[in-house]
């Protein structure tokens, strides 16, 4: 049905941090591999306090490591070309394709001969050549009007990959409908074209009460809501310990997971795999997977 997939991209962006982008991308990786596709995760630029160590001893973003596990592949440095780790006292360490660089992040970024985009582009291309689908994760919000020129993670990557984007909002926190409508209002027309639809995350309560709100959002933006994912209790995949993102209410991933993959006990690895299946099942049931596969297959030609 979809044997023409070669490096097709789908991107997950969020209206803010902590809305569940990583979780959605992780679930999509597991769903796709369950359905027989070769899939890889990608996040161009990441800022976090801790990281995931690959089997090859490289350091990448925590979520991308988990997403690689979800996709049942080994994590590689290409999955996260730039990782910045604040070290305190204004110092930031920069890790490029999994390899920590000596010196200050700002200086290193400035010294890249053609800037960061060739690095990002080459890593993305590398993955696209090897995999049927690349699930790309954004960072923060694509609508930070004061930071658009400097943004390395969101619409710049969507443009590079010509990727349709699922914009995700956390409804548990309140204001999700406003955040979706507001995000679109702040995108320019080209950026707006990338947004294929919305995913509502962490929902609790009566869907019948929510539905009229979703109708209003669809009417104002002209984009469909492609899924409402319920709040998933006792999630234990850990969450990126980045500045401003809430820690998981279970053991922080620094304690539990920031260790080389080959040091993970078999029981831990199996438990995590079960958790990935559990999450994938909930998300699969919550999304319009037919429409999402259409987006993956047809890309932005669809709309």
């Amino acid at each position: 049905m979809y044997d023409s997939l070669q490096g097709n991209c789908l991107m997950v962006q969020g209206v803010a941090s902590g809305v569940g982008k990583s979780l959605l991308a992780t679930a999509l990786c597991r769903i796709l591999v369950q359905d027989g596709f070769l899939v890889a995760p990608f996040k161009a630029w990441n800022m976090a306090l801790s990281s995931y160590t690959t089997a090859g001893g490289l350091e990448i973003g925590w979520a991308q490591g988990i997403q690689a596990e979800a996709a049942m592949i080994d994590a590689t440095g290409h999955m996260n070309p730039f990782l910045l780790k604040p070290r305190g006292g204004g110092q930031t360490e920069i890790i490029i394709r999994g390899e920590p660089q000596k010196g200050d992040a700002r200086k290193i970024m400035d010294s890249l001969p053609d800037g960061p985009w060739p690095v990002i582009s080459a890593s993305l291309e590398h993955l696209r050549k090897q995999f049927d689908v690349v699930i790309i994760e954004g960072a923060g919000s694509p609508a930070e009007i004061n930071l658009k020129d400097r943004d390395l993670a969101n619409m710049g990557v969507a443009r590079l990959a010509k990727a349709p984007v699922l914009l995700t909002a956390d409804i548990d926190r309140g204001g999700a409908l406003a955040a979706l409508v507001g995000s679109l209002a702040l995108l320019d027309s080209e950026e707006n074209m990338h947004i294929a639809g919305f995913v509502i995350n962490k929902f609790r309560g009566d869907f019948d009460i929510l539905r009229p709100g979703l109708d209003v959002v669809e009417e104002i933006t002209g984009k469909p809501v492609l899924g409402v994912i319920p709040h998933i209790p006792r999630l234990s995949l850990g969450e990126e310990d980045s500045v401003g993102v809430p820690k998981t209410d279970t053991v922080t991933e620094r304690e539990a997971f920031n260790q080389p993959a080959n040091e993970l006990g078999t029981a831990d690895a199996r438990a995590r795999d079960d958790e990935l299946d559990r999450v994938a099942a909930v998300v699969r049931a919550s999304l319009d997977m037919g429409k999402i596969y259409d987006l993956i297959k047809k890309g932005m030609k669809l709309y």
């Binding site: 803010a16 930071l147 209002a185 401003g244």
Partner: protein, 295 residues
């Protein structure tokens, strides 16, 4: 400035989402205006939480409004939190009205109460406060733009209408997307509700203000409202906040004590000072419609 007749002015603090810092900002603003010599009271029409405070008369209100009253230097009163819901299960809560329990209600029973009696309860409390105070600072709940939850709203624009209060909308920049949240909230309000919003406030800012400033100018243009100020992220204030289910609050949770200790007063003094330095007090006085005190 203890004029004989209380001025009965109002100001409402609403947020784009939960946990943007409404409670802290309300407490700080109460304290700022009290320091300037006004008789100030905090207010939240309807509050859900599990932490109670019992007044001297044995009336029960949410601990948050009690703390806000204490740091303002006024005794907590049930008029400051006329409706207090204490959740028992996902669909049942104990409903406490003007400090007295009406027993447990299901979601439907509460909706019925809200529709038929809620407005009168809230209006009555506001009227009594206006007769005693120069300024009532109302705190909203969640977001005023939940378009599917508008009917019979008592906590946000419903309260603002009953109090005829000008509104300041607060966004949390620490989690990202603040421009989208503020813009979207304004877009989803009705024309009348939008007219109440006089300014926006950005809270929990960390980092380089010079990177933010171009965005502020763009935002002011987009929403046609001034930015009252940018409040920095403040680590060390504690306030008993509503308990969300499974929510670990990054602002911290305090001990449940009825008396506010010296250290709390000290912490709120610091918070009030920081907020005062971060906002345009001239604009705030203009919005509230009170004369700026001569220093």
């Amino acid at each position: 400035m203890n004029n004989k007749v209380p001025m009965g002015r109002t100001l409402m603090v609403q947020g784009c989402a939960s946990s943007v810092g409404k409670s802290f900002i309300t407490a700080a603003l109460c304290r700022i205006f009290a320091r300037d010599g006004w008789r100030v009271a905090p207010f939240k029409a309807q509050n859900m939480g599990s932490k109670s405070f019992f007044t001297a008369e044995g009336k029960e209100i949410n601990a948050v409004q009690a703390v806000q009253a204490k740091v303002t230097g006024v005794p907590p009163s049930p008029d400051m939190n006329p409706i207090f819901q204490k959740p028992i299960t996902d669909t049942v809560a104990e409903v406490i009205v003007l400090g007295e329990s009406l027993g447990n209600m299901t979601v439907q029973e509460y909706f019925h109460f809200k529709k038929n009696e809620g407005k009168a309860v809230v209006a009555g409390a506001l009227k009594r406060l206006k007769e005693q105070f120069d300024l009532i600072i109302l705190e909203g709940g969640g977001s005023p733009a939940e378009v599917n939850l508008r009917d019979h709203d008592l906590v946000n624009m419903g309260a603002a209408a009953l109090a005829d209060a000008p509104v300041i909308l607060v966004g949390d920049i620490d989690r990202g997307g603040v421009f989208a949240y503020l813009t979207g909230t304004m877009l989803l309000l009705t024309e009348e509700e939008r007219r109440r919003v006089k300014a926006v406030l950005i809270n929990k800012f960390r980092g380089d203000l010079s990177l933010l400033e171009p965005g502020l100018a763009l935002l002011e243009e987009k929403i046609s409202r001034p930015i009252l100020g940018v409040i920095p992220y403040i680590n060390d204030v504690c306030l008993p906040l509503e308990e969300g289910l499974d929510r670990a609050d990054d602002d911290g949770v305090c001990l449940r004590e009825e008396s506010v200790s010296e250290s709390w007063q000290g912490a709120y003094e610091k918070l009030a000072r920081q907020v005062r330095e971060s906002v345009s007090m001239d604009l705030l006085y203009d919005i509230v419609g009170l004369p700026i005190p001569k220093s």
